[in-house]
Point group: C2
Chain length 313, copies 2
Amino acid sequence: MYIGIDLGGTNIAVGLVDDTPKVIAQASRPTLSTRPYEEIVKDMAELCEEVAIKGGCSMAEIQGIGIGSPGSVDSKAGVILYANNLGWSNIPLVEELKKYFPAIPIAVENDANAAAYGEYAVNGNGAESFVAITLGTGIGGGVVLNNQILRGCNGAGGELGHISMVFDGEPCTCGKVGCWEAYASVTALIRQTKAAIEANPDSLMATKAAEEGKVSGRTAFEAAKAGDAAAQKVVDAYLTYAAEGIVSIINIFQPEVLVIGGGISREGDYLLNPIKEYAKKYVYGAAFCRTELKIASLFNDAGIIGAALASVQ
Amino acid sequence: MYIGIDLGGTNIAVGLVDDTPKVIAQASRPTLSTRPYEEIVKDMAELCEEVAIKGGCSMAEIQGIGIGSPGSVDSKAGVILYANNLGWSNIPLVEELKKYFPAIPIAVENDANAAAYGEYAVNGNGAESFVAITLGTGIGGGVVLNNQILRGCNGAGGELGHISMVFDGEPCTCGKVGCWEAYASVTALIRQTKAAIEANPDSLMATKAAEEGKVSGRTAFEAAKAGDAAAQKVVDAYLTYAAEGIVSIINIFQPEVLVIGGGISREGDYLLNPIKEYAKKYVYGAAFCRTELKIASLFNDAGIIGAALASVQ
């Protein structure tokens, strides 16, 4: 048994993970991130004990505790170098949690990397090279090579959303312009959908958005499926941006498996098939590309499972 | 002592490499690539013996022979899967060369990866993560992580030149449009310089090109250094393209060391300093970036040294 801790800016979610690997018990508390970190870690420790009890096992049976944290993480030292949304810098997270569980191996990973490791454990089929991409509010990613997470020298490796896409393009949250994330995240899709609604106020897409009172990452996809030409244009453009970034990633890693997760991945084959087609055409040396493209399967559990398993990596 | 073989479309260059690692003896022959591969390998074997004699050692002292080959390479099997400029597919290169030297470890790598490994051996300072980029006729690259070349599952990993740069941009040799290579290779710089000369026929850059009877990768750089405003514009735009791609690569790998080679790298600090400035500003979480950016030092020897050392990796 393992425990995975998904530390977010809003909630601390903790799960007991078995060898399958599956989350068999879960508990969470609000992070209340302005508190001293010692209090947050105390809550983590209590949540660990809570999920162990819920899962019917003792802490002595726990083989490892892993934390997925936002920000730059020094996994070797067990320190959060910097996490913007927690207001943390140089927090000795592992050392602090060790005070509660001195006999259990404890490790910390960047949250996107932990989630990628979770997908790798479940969907990687032991691949020597594996990439996970999350098309969510932003674009996250993680790379696993020879069963090792690609961390880079500062724990911030695998920022796949911040590769170039459109020179001199839209501003990105990272301070640069034109990043992939600024074109193929859900946030970008919503922006693209809103612009298309403004230009096509009579479209089905516009009607749907008005009915729902908001524009979401599903608005354009649903209207396109119902035959709306303006929405189809939005979806086609979005899929090209998504595919173009995935081709760049394949050209770099030529991974055995590349898994696409995040909110938009719920579109399934409707998302996956056009990306496969695009990759077949445009990957460098496409005839020799052996990358298997798949939709992620773990969704929210990926972070907990990945952090749990990475603790004994 | 090791032997490195740099197999090109035009020449086979073979070098004897000592432990420094330095090339201490060299020999070459034309590839004549339309011949049966067995004949090409026979030449390789003879060149190996030639450099050993030149270097004053016997073949018994050779600890490994490494070949850097263009194209997709299955290093595990020792097979060239596909090399366009040799007209090869599925060539058992290692097996064939083993016939001449059955007692010596022999390995084959993609040539760009071999060159990256050579730079890593000399300039990597034992870095856990290392990237080499070649701004040449195209943009080549290689990645070394934990002393392992990043090969991908088909031997074609590390095609760093074929990440996106300009959406819907200039056509690239790979069949896609808008790749980094189509904006920051020497070929791209020459295209950009020619366009600027046409628009600025009275510029110093235009005069220089007319005097030399051609436009090269140096034309704009030299005219800019001499104060030509139009040339400076070309150089500034080129440097931004180069830097933008390097920022993407850093965001993915956060390598300890990133080395820039290829023809344009002879510009030294004139190239490196603006790229460093750009990276300092635009790398994701730049304040925590620890990547050391350097100019490559091996130039033409990188392939031979890298192939030689990779043979015993």
